[in-house]
């Protein structure tokens, strides 16, 4: 019997989804093995998923038809990351706005590793058409798959057992039966606690929660990813030292802004210029303006929400979901300029965002 290798990638948010990603990766491996295949999984080690919100990756390699022979996985073992993936699973739809894995690697499109005609599976409450407004166009076609579901957010210690693993497994069985059959998924879930609940979730996803849309070359937002230039040892400064930043300069190579799933929006009309947001932001995101306000350089914002927590004026800093904003991939809106240019328009816009905010300054939640 001939062996075919399938590679899957799981992109998730550091800390919040590390248990989720690991459980999903292991689940795929177990399910694949229960179907008589060889499989392994690994993290992209350098991602440092212990950092809040950092987009990080897990990989799963399945050797179909390999039986119990592990040798066929040798070529895929001991790797940092695979060259290509057949399936890319995105556990938080705001990650569609880009992945920054390493300082000099720049902002990578979410489907950088996806093979032509591969599957991009996203857990989201939006439909594929809406999500395409956040995904860069590419030269080859692919299939965008949405698994309807809430963003599953855990923390360092705990895993919210909310059915996301089961739903994604069901979705894989639906859109990539070559990779994982519904039967394999069921067998795996039956080996766990609460087997009936888990199997039902997978079957529900399989039957009703998956939307698939073919994406043609060129569809999506314009963004050209430049792979990094990695210097040779003769070009590097001795010891790997690197030129530092000048005062008031920000690192052009590493913004880190893809770590956020929500962002601060400032109501400058109410701001008292108290400086607290500027002082407390752990990433020095706020630029002082000539008239004493503080404007967030959103490309560098990690979305921690501290600014909104410390702002003493009610309804002045709000944290709003990233998918409310069609920017990203290095180009972010400039809130202060928007406000300066059209105060009335800005006020209306802010008020439209207020009901959607997840953190609101100086308000009991």
């Amino acid at each position: 019997m001939s062996v075919s290798i399938y590679t899957l990638e799981i992109i998730y948010r550091g800390i919040h989804q590390r248990h989720l990603a690991r459980n999903l990766a292991r689940g795929i491996v177990y399910a694949a093995r229960m179907e008589g295949n060889a499989a392994l999984s690994y993290q992209r080690y350098g991602d440092d998923p212990e950092r809040d919100g950092v987009p990080a990756k897990y990989f799963v390699v399945i050797a179909k038809g390999a039986g119990s022979s592990e040798d066929v996985l040798d070529a895929e073992a001991a790797r940092v990351e695979p060259d290509f993936v057949d399936v890319s699973i995105v556990l938080d739809d705001t990650i569609l706005k880009g992945v920054e894995s390493w300082a000099w690697q720049g902002i990578q499109p979410v489907h950088l590793k996806l093979r032509p005609n591969g599957l991009l599976i996203v857990v989201s409450k939006k439909n594929p058409e809406e999500l395409l407004r956040f995904i860069p166009a590419r030269d080859s076609p692919y299939k965008l798959v949405v698994v309807q579901g809430e963003r599953s957010i855990g923390d360092f210690w705990t895993f919210p057992d909310d059915g996301t693993v089961e739903r994604v497994l069901g979705a894989i069985a639906k859109v990539a039966p070559d990779v994982l059959s519904l039967d394999g998924v069921k067998r795996f879930l039956q080996s766990l606690d609460k087997p009936d609940v888990r199997v039902n979730r997978a079957v529900e996803a399989y039957q009703a929660l998956v939307r698939l849309r073919e994406v043609k070359p060129g569809e999506g937002i314009p963004y050209k990813y430049e792979p990094p230039h990695l210097p040779g040892y003769k070009d590097m400064m001795i010891g790997g030292a690197i030129p530092g930043l000048k005062p008031n300069q920000r690192n052009p190579l590493f913004t880190g802004g893809t770590a956020k799933h929500y962002r601060p929006v400032i109501n400058f009309d109410k701001c008292t210029k108290c400086t607290l947001c500027w002082e407390y932001c752990p990433d020095s995101v706020f630029d002082p303006t000539p008239d004493g306000y503080f404007n967030p350089a959103l490309a560098y914002c990690k979305g921690c929400g501290i600014c909104a927590e410390v702002c003493p004026v009610p309804d002045t800093i709000i944290m709003v979901d990233e998918l409310e904003f069609e920017d990203g991939y290095g180009k972010f809106i400039d809130e202060y300029r928007m406000w300066k240019e059209n105060r009335e328009g800005y006020r209306k816009w802010f008020e439209s965002l207020l009901p959607k905010a997840q953190i609101i300054s100086a308000r009991k939640r």
């Binding site: 350098g46 940092v80 390493w102 300082a103 000099w104 990695l230 210097p231 040779g232 040892y233 590097m236 400064m237 001795i238 010891g239 790997g240 030292a241 690197i242 030129p243 530092g244 930043l245 000048k246």
Partner: protein
Amino acid sequence: MSVSVLESKRLEAVLKGDEEVEVVGTGTDAMAYALMLADIDVTSAYPIRPYGGVMQTVSKLIADGYLKAEYIVAAHEHDQFEIVKHASAVGARTFVGSSGVGWLLAIEAIVVISTDRYPVVALIGNRALDDPGAYGVEHNDALMVRDVGWLLVWVDTAQEALDTTLIAYRVAEDPRVMLPVGISMDGAFLTHSEHVFKIPPKSKVQKFLPPYDLGNRKLHPSNVISVAPQVNEDWVTEIRKQMDEAMKNARKVIVEAYRDFAKIFGRDYGNPFVEPYMVEDADVIMVGMGTVSRPIKEAVRRLRAKGEKVGFLRIRWFRPFPTEDIIHYLSGAKVVAVVDRDYSFGSPFDGGAVYTEIRSALYEAEHRPLIINFIGGLGGREITYNDAINMFNIALDTARKGKVEQRVIWYGVRE
């Protein structure tokens, strides 16, 4: 109490005049005078013997105004090495050191000094690693860092300690090298014994040793750089490769430094890497590092007087390893006998580190001599000239038989 009244006039002379002066002192005194001449900026101290002697003399030199330097007493050895690393990063010429397990306590800081490429010079007052407790010499403390980018040199006299310290700064700070140097001094036998040596005048040292210049790597508000970044697999190979190149460059830079040293100071060490002693026609050549040279040389002379063709090769620089010189001097012998004041348990032939490296170097030789290894002098035990004669006799016997009966001999071990 200041520097002894005996020395003060002599120190004035070398600091102000153009003549060298003769003094009596320990190996660590000699090194302290070299630090005065090299005009170090920062040093950091934590007491441990036998290294501690150098800090006592340095503190007196500072107290008496012969040397202007920051003398920072650290909380422990790790701090000690971190302090000089940071000082070196901002452009200070630094000195540091330790012994035995004290040196190992600092190991994390020691490694980042070389990987961050700071030309720190350190004294390793060689001392047995605990346990069991022993103050005396073994070389395993220094050898612990043989693979991580430290240049390592062994000296055997107070004069050589002084001269090598000056050479060490010159080599370490050369832009082609920029690696730290560890100067090994045998505990007690050199650190705590008093010999006559000459202190050269500072005016000549200034000709020999240019000011420390980190160039564009100097941490300063006017030169904003970031050092020691987290780079992972993308950069690490290249940064290690830079160190490999630097270590290889050091071979050339060491030759240049000794050549200029001879020109300026009139003391010529000949081959910088090894000291050959009556090896030209020798059938049996003993090899060792540090003060074991002294009794071995005496044994060579006594055996030569009886017509035995024996010689001695002292290794000075262990990193970079003098492979070519080892092949050049040793491959003509019938038997090479390596004396290791160290051990490398479980190494290819269960011998010492020097023996293992020499075997490796001679693999490339056209003629490979027989090699035997003596592990001896551990924990500061003496190796007398009579011991050396005994060892030579075993080696001569091996030469006569034309084969090695026992590769590694624990010399003098009680059964």
